[in-house]
Amino acid sequence: MKITGAEALIKSLLLEKVEVIFGYPGGAIMPVYDALYHYQDKIKHILVRHEQGAVHAAEGYARISRKPGVCFTTSGPGATNLVTGIADAMMDSVPLVCITGQVASSLLGSDAFQETDVIGITTPITKWNYQIINAQEIPEIISKAFYIASKGRPGPVVIDITKNAQIEELDYKPKKIFIEKLEKTNKLEKNKLKEIAEIINSSEKPLIVAGHGVLISNAENELNIFSKKAKIPIAVTLHGVSSTNKDNPYYVGMVGMHGNYAPNVLTNEADLLLGFGMRFDDRVTGKLDRYAKNAKIIHVDIDASEHNKNVKTYFPVLSDLKYFLKNILPYIKSKNRKNWIEKFKQLDEIEKKYEKKRYKKYENKITSDLVIKKLSELTKGKAIVVADVGQNQMFAARYYDFKLNNSFISSGGLGTMGFSLPASIGAKIASKNDVYAVVGDGGFQMTIQELGTIMQEKLPIKILILNNQYLGMVRQWQELFFSKRYSFTYLKNPNFIQIAQGYNIQSKKINKKQDLEKELKKFIKSKKPYVLEVMVEAEHNVFPMIPAGNAVDEIRLE
């Protein structure tokens, strides 16, 4: 059967079970949009307001649904507007398939209208990319794109399709590709597992650091079972925040620059560090040559190039985490580590003391952590929180009590301000749970146009703006490390309530503490999109904090 390349693309997406596409049409992808017109009953298309919105929405969708997110854009500016989101997905291991239109192959390299070298631009920030110049290639390449995006360590794939390849006809035959190279996983041999288990069983002060890999490999249950059986404390990274929770008695909090006091300090006391699906990022390790120097490090990761990249590993394990945890469990012995666990509790008390002091200082004020705590209480921790970047992100990660697995999304590696609002669109489409976008006044204005998408799609997303009229995290650094020289961090903001009204979105602004609980309840109860702007204490800092370049045990409490 002869069909156009554009139709073959849509059929190939259906074969990959794609249900939703985030996109923005334009000249060089019009044939694809024309083909999509006839498949509207099978594939949902979300029209965003800017291509960056499409790619972040696709990321939000991918992270909640655990399937590749798909976006469509045109050539030139359409494609270049994706760049931030693609880089974000690369850093945070998010599976994406981005389809970009391109000028006809006869015009390539001639500086034609809306031509850019998309392959050249996206090579350093994709797991794989490919330019299709004739229709015949489409079924195979699309299958390959999905395979690569989701297999092993996930990542973004860009497929650039020239206009002629969209228009030309081909004999369509469905194709499913597999790539031998990516199929290679290590077989965990019995004696190796025993050897690793022996190290774990004999350790006196072990600490698990659980990362995004726990969620990617669906290993939340296995992680909890493992830690409870072995009686080993679990600390989480920013992306690992919703991989376990306080219901597990061995949960000891978050590590990293704005993590909790106990797990950061005790990292340097541990005699064994189990890095599960994490990559020893500099925000986690602080000063590298003073990181976990007393510990043997067992690093389980599916990406071999992460082993020994930042920290010297005693035992690198190349494996899917779930597979590893399942297989090692029979060899793990329960061991009494009461004194070690007690240490975490003692240090936690110190952190709480400082926290109390802060609460007292701001007794009559609204602070961001208080807002998140209240939101957590009132939603019983059972919502998806999509945080932006900066202070709001750290407050969301630390003070929301996540009860659902995989319910915290944020831009970690790249730290992309403006991530939250569009990503919450994708998250809402992928999930029936309530979705809260937690965002600062700065980040909100970076992708504010996506309120239009929320309006058009009638998505009941709750947008919580923590407005401190500053670029809060930068201001905090200026306060602490630049003698309070607030160089260009003050924001004169527009009336967000009127803006929301312009998009026909319900909205409310509060600046008195006594209104907080009442208004939060209304906000949570609403079945429609809702913007709640909370004026929070401006010069309020996130603590604890490991100043850049310091060791994890040099963490500051105030």
Binding site: I119, K181, L182, H307
Partner: protein, 80 residues
């Protein structure tokens, strides 16, 4: 330290671009790079000589190059 890296890859122009990109990002100096396309057998042989790397860096770099989808085989040896 000087190293010679030998690569066998799919016959695609992009492969050299991807490798050079990685070296550029990591500020690794390439002393020599040579790519031979083999039409008949449909693969390319790429030879690279780099210097000023320690053992840990070369190992990580090799693993990162090996993540390039089109690469079939890679090995390296110390030459000086």
């Amino acid at each position: 330290m000087k190293y010679q890296i030998n690569i066998i890859a799919e016959n695609q122009q992009i492969v050299v671009y991807r490798i050079i990109n990685l070296f550029l990002k990591k500020k690794i100096f390439i002393e020599k790079i040579e790519a031979n396309f083999n039409e008949k057998e449909n693969f390319s042989k790429i030879l690279i000589i780099i210097k000023n790397l320690n053992q840990n860096m070369i190992e990580t770099t090799i693993k990162q190059i090996n993540k390039i989808i089109e690469i079939k085989k890679i090995n390296y040896k110390k030459i000086l």
